[in-house]
Symmetry: C2
Subunit: 193 residues, 2 copies
DNA sequence: CAGTATATTGAACGAACGTTCAAATGTCAA
DNA sequence: TTGACATTTGAACGTTCGTTCAATATACTG
């Protein structure tokens, strides 16, 4: 038999194509990518990748790449750096899909101020905010207090609701009238450099 | 003239299709999506969206959606909640593309331990690590110290290199021999719930 | 060496693709 | 009412699409 093909590398090439073109390749584009002379060789390759669970096809037979935008998810810091073999097997995860469940109701907002500093949320961080969701006890919310918007812990004991900053400088707030909640923080993102 | 179409809503529908199908729609799929009877109506719509800068086409004429995975990027927390008009105009940003410049060299690792707690990096957070990059002064790196991998600040004064934890509990380390750097932290991600 | 499973070629098919053109529709202003 | 313009229809074109089939090449096994 001819030399067996490296499925992992094939997937990587297809992922690269998809990232660059923002869409999965067609079979003829795959033929060029792998330097086949026949389109059917690509067809055959894709079938093999599907059998191995790397790819899918949609109803029209087009290649469906579940998460061509993403990073490999490895173990923990302590585990240190994995071997190349482990790297290959790592799951690829799209941060967008992982963090954003409801794209229409989710926004990215830059943090200013230090009211949540003890929760590890610094000025300059980005927070993913989902609006229109009912906050639960100890969720971090964006709320309007005295005509100003801030981030606070949402604390509910029985019927009493308090807004608590993660910073001793700021006292807890018991909203007297209606409580305006802009949204619930679902994630924090800090980018360096 | 017939009633003008809502470009913003059109873009939103196309984005939704792209998210669900992991690829941009074809013109015939657009026809169905907008309930046109002629494929050319969709063609015309796309032309208009391109003129307005919402879309592009690639060399093959296929619809190219720059970031159909993404969130709308709004202002700051203090600015509070924007009006619907502002929401429409907000830039859509893909977290994957924003955070990951070199997909092949970037990994997601779960943080254990508290060595970087004062830098707002908690146990359970995810860090994006880029390998094979030369760390600069004050970068956060993953390094091997005494056969253990940890996160530390990389500090370089002249020729002397130190690894400093963001936690007073741990003393700075001056590596005696070679210094094994696993990678440089480019982002921190914390997901709630 | 022959046998066999894997891998690749080449040609062909109907369907879906992006694109074009001419014609028809609706709606507002004059 | 009419003219001007924006939108939609419908049909047609060459091209690329996913898929199929038969034939061939490759490299390991017995």
């Amino acid at each position: 038999m001819p030399k067996p093909i490296d499925l992992n590398q094939a997937v990587r090439q297809i992922r690269k194509f998809s990232q660059e073109n923002k869409r999965p390749p067609s079979f003829d584009e795959l033929r060029k990518l792998f330097r086949y002379k026949s389109k059917n060789a690509a067809f055959w390759l894709v079938d093999k990748l599907i059998d191995s669970g790397f790819l899918k096809k949609d109803k029209q037979g087009k290649i469906l790449f579940d998460s061509f935008n993403g990073v490999r998810l490895l173990g923990t810091v302590q585990a240190g750096w994995p071997s190349p073999a482990e790297e290959e097997l790592a799951d690829v995860m799209s941060l967008d899909e992982y963090l954003i469940k409801h794209p229409d109701q989710t926004f990215l907002i830059k943090v200013s101020g230090d009211s949540m500093i003890d929760a590890g949320i610094h000025a300059g961080d980005l927070v993913l905010v989902e609006r229109g969701r009912q906050p639960k006890h100890q969720d971090i919310v964006i709320a309007e207090v005295d005509n100003e918007w801030t981030m606070k812990y949402y604390e509910k004991n029985g019927k009493e609701v308090r807004l608590v900053a993660a910073n001793k400088k700021y006292p807890p707030i018991k909203p007297r009238e209606e409580l305006k909640i802009g949204g619930v923080i679902v994630a924090v993102i800090r980018k360096y450099k």
